[in-house]
């Protein structure tokens, strides 16, 4: 284990794809650090590499070269099971397309991340209901996703992301499918989670979300813009 000064440290991160005969460099020599409790937005145009960078921060995509250290752990030196445990213990993911299971209720969707934990059924139920209440959907916990509005579905996604109490929440365009009022509500919700101690990293191309963050990182052509 390395001694580090920041909760997240990224060193010389590179991700290349083969696109036919051409080699595409989605992320190019990125170095950055994020402290515990920060609210960071990663902004950039479509295709700038920001989502690829987020995936590598969340142990979802192995970099071509470089290192990602979270809580002093070099993620890509961990084994498969350790990486799965890391994602379960540390990360709450929020996706633009919500990724809810359509045939499960709100409550069942939120309980999903706890399916692999050793928590008792009653504890799981209580924890899930607590976060559903937190996102303001207590009265709709038994609805199916298609019975909810887009903003409500995003709230379910947020509840599911925080139910395991992860220190780090990674959100990929969380407001991309929402109108401006609903987007503001979701960002306010993320802001309140940040006040509760969650470190939040939001990938977005929406400049309005900048206002909620304590720091903005701009990515252009796979590099962090200075």
């Amino acid at each position: 284990m390395k001694t580090v000064d920041h909760f997240i440290q990224v060193h010389d991160l590179v991700k290349t794809y083969a696109d036919g005969a051409q080699l595409v460099t989605a992320v190019d020599q990125v170095n950055l650090s994020i402290d515990d409790g920060e609210f960071v937005t990663i902004m950039g145009q479509s295709g700038s590499g920001k989502s690829t960078l987020l995936s590598m921060l969340g142990a979802l995509m192995r970099p071509t070269t470089g290192k990602v250290l979270v809580d002093s752990m070099d993620l890509y030196s961990l084994g498969k099971e350790q990486l799965a445990d890391f994602r379960s213990e540390y990360i709450g993911f929020i996706f633009q397309s919500f990724q809810l299971i359509p045939y499960l209720t709100v409550l069942e969707n939120v309980k999903l991340p706890m399916a692999v934990t050793i928590l008792k059924k009653k504890t799981r139920q209580d924890m899930a209901m607590a976060v559903i209440d937190r996102v303001g959907l207590a009265d709709k916990h038994d609805r199916l996703p298609d019975q909810l509005s887009g903003g409500e579905q995003e709230r379910v996604a947020v509840a599911r992301a925080i139910v395991n109490r992860p220190p780090l929440i990674l959100a990929d365009e969380p407001t991309g499918n929402l109108d401006s009022d609903t987007a503001a509500q979701i960002m306010a919700l993320l802001e309140s989670l940040n006040r509760d101690g969650h470190t939040i990293v939001v990938v977005t191309h929406n400049p309005e979300t900048e206002a909620y963050a304590s720091r903005n990182i701009r990515v252009k052509d796979g590099r962090v813009a200075v």
């Binding site: 580090v4 000064d5 920041h6 909760f7 402290d35 515990d36 409790g37 920060e38 809580d71 002093s72 752990m73 961990l78 350790q82 445990d85 890391f86 213990e89 540390y90 220190p167």
Partner: protein, 144 residues
């Protein structure tokens, strides 16, 4: 905020699979359970084996009605019969206890053999071997 290595130590240890020092409650519970089961097994298994092995045995108890001692050749003859487990004398040699497998032999055969030997005898009792052992043990205990 600078990185605090203690803040998420438990999570980090779970991810890295670092074992805590000492024995967890579940391991302790497992050890206690296994110990209890082994202890019970040590008591019950030999009894069960003994009961299983002696389930077909009976004892036939004979007394001489004339004469004072069972001839050795008679005892040797009984021991040579099929289905005999043990032949012992008790009550200072006055009684003969034949332990036998009831599926293979019985007092009718012993009576016939003893008559052939020219002995005068009486069959005092035929009893289950385990029951007889228990009675004998109780009698010994009562004499102490």
């Amino acid at each position: 905020m600078a990185w605090d290595p203690e803040k998420y130590r438990e999570k980090r240890e779970r991810v890295l699979g670092i074992q805590k020092k000492g024995i967890s409650f579940s391991i302790m519970a497992a050890i206690v359970s296994v110990t209890i089961l082994l202890g019970l097994g040590a008591v019950t298994v030999p009894n069960a084996v003994s009961l299983w092995q002696t389930r077909h045995l009976d004892d036939a108890i004979y007394r001489l009605t004339a004469g004072y001692a069972w001839p050795d050749q008679t005892l040797a003859g009984i021991r040579g019969m099929s289905g005999i487990k043990k032949v012992t004398k008790d009550h200072h040699g006055g009684r003969l206890v034949i332990t036998f497998d009831r599926r293979r032999t019985g007092p009718e055969k012993f009576d016939r053999f003893l008559k052939e030997q020219g002995l005068f005898f009486a069959l005092l009792n035929r009893v289950n071997h385990r029951q007889h052992q228990q009675i004998t043990a109780e009698e010994k205990e009562a004499k102490k």
